[in-house]
Symmetry: C2
Subunit: 207 residues, 2 copies
């Protein structure tokens, strides 16, 4: 069994990456990481399934030790992604998809040069701006700030990302994500063992 692929999906706020991923996970075989959090476990939840439930002390130790790919504090609780999630999933032969910001994607690439970086963006800047305004949750200043960040991300992704998915229709975009994964499994460097095996077989048994 070969190791799974490491995929990173990034895109500015309003690019529709959550919808894209939700549609993908309805049919796709790649796996999400399980987040670590310090918030209290709920009745219906299981540790190691829904989240890794950490004490605050343990979470802060993980931060200090550089074990987190990214983390955030929200409503008094930490939420984050452990680097170890990547190896856990790929070692089992599954592909892993990380939804992170462009800077985080670049960090993943430094540690895992084989990682495949995918950027997503709406069909135009006007649509991105409209999507941000339609949310109605943010004031104009915050929206302008998000667009400034978007501009920086586009420039960085142009230079360091491997693919662009233009996210017009979420189902089409999810299908293109699946196509990229399928194509990467067909990449010759993923199939060298097979090529050697069939070559030896032809030679030893059929000539």
């Amino acid at each position: 069994m070969s190791k799974g692929l490491i995929l990173v999906l990034s895109g500015p706020a309003g690019s529709g990456k959550d919808t894209l991923l939700n549609r993908y996970f309805k049919f796709g075989s790649a796996k999400k990481t399980i987040s670590a959090t310090t918030r209290a476990i709920r009745n219906c939840e299981k540790d190691g399934i829904d989240y890794y439930f950490f004490t605050r002390e343990r979470f802060e130790k993980a931060i200090a030790a550089g074990e987190l790919l990214e983390y955030t504090e929200y409503a008094g609780n930490y939420y984050g992604t452990l680097y170890s999630e990547i190896n856990r999933i790929t070692a089992a032969g599954d592909d892993v998809i990380l939804k992170i910001e462009v800077e985080g994607g670049q960090n993943v690439k430094k540690l895992f040069p084989e990682a495949i970086l995918i950027f997503t963006f709406p069909p135009s800047a006007a649509i991105l701006a409209a999507r941000l305004r339609r949310r109605g949750t943010e004031d104009e200043q915050t929206i302008k700030k998000r667009l400034t960040v978007a501009q920086t991300e586009i420039e960085a992704a142009k230079k360091t990302y491997d693919y662009l998915i233009i996210n017009d229709d979420a189902d089409d975009a999810a299908k293109q994500l699946a196509d990229i994964i399928s194509a990467r499994h067909a990449a010759m460097n993923e199939n060298i063992d097979f090529m050697n095996e069939v070559k030896d077989d032809v030679k030893n048994h059929f000539i």
Copy 2:
């Protein structure tokens, strides 16, 4: 409109590349090249649609001028593929698929470094041998010769080809070809103009 992609599909005799392509062309958007031939035009045929109908003299001139990617003589007539077919199709914004031998694929790559080389092979050497024998059209010596060629092609493809499609079910293999094409259209280097355009748009109109 951006230029189309150049795709090469190669695989040993018995690898099922004709069936794979026939299934692909039922739904896929990439185009075949039109062959040149010296055989007489039939009633139902149109020059430049079914074939380019060449005189023997013109065909031999094309050979001498190195205008043919590959050619063969069969039943007293020449059949071949003109290099100009690649530009004709890609300039119109369409992707082109060339079905040629590994050596021909490597020649295409020399002239068109952006060409995408795809190798196809059955799930095992035993299946390749069985498919060749099942045809029942060739003696054992010819089959062994074909397998010897296959061995050389596997080794060459391993080193110079970009993708491997394991051709077990022809429909699955055709879908994987389509996936590779879809993924290559999503490659960042195919989308630099879009990235620059949206970046400028964000900057000039929305910040």
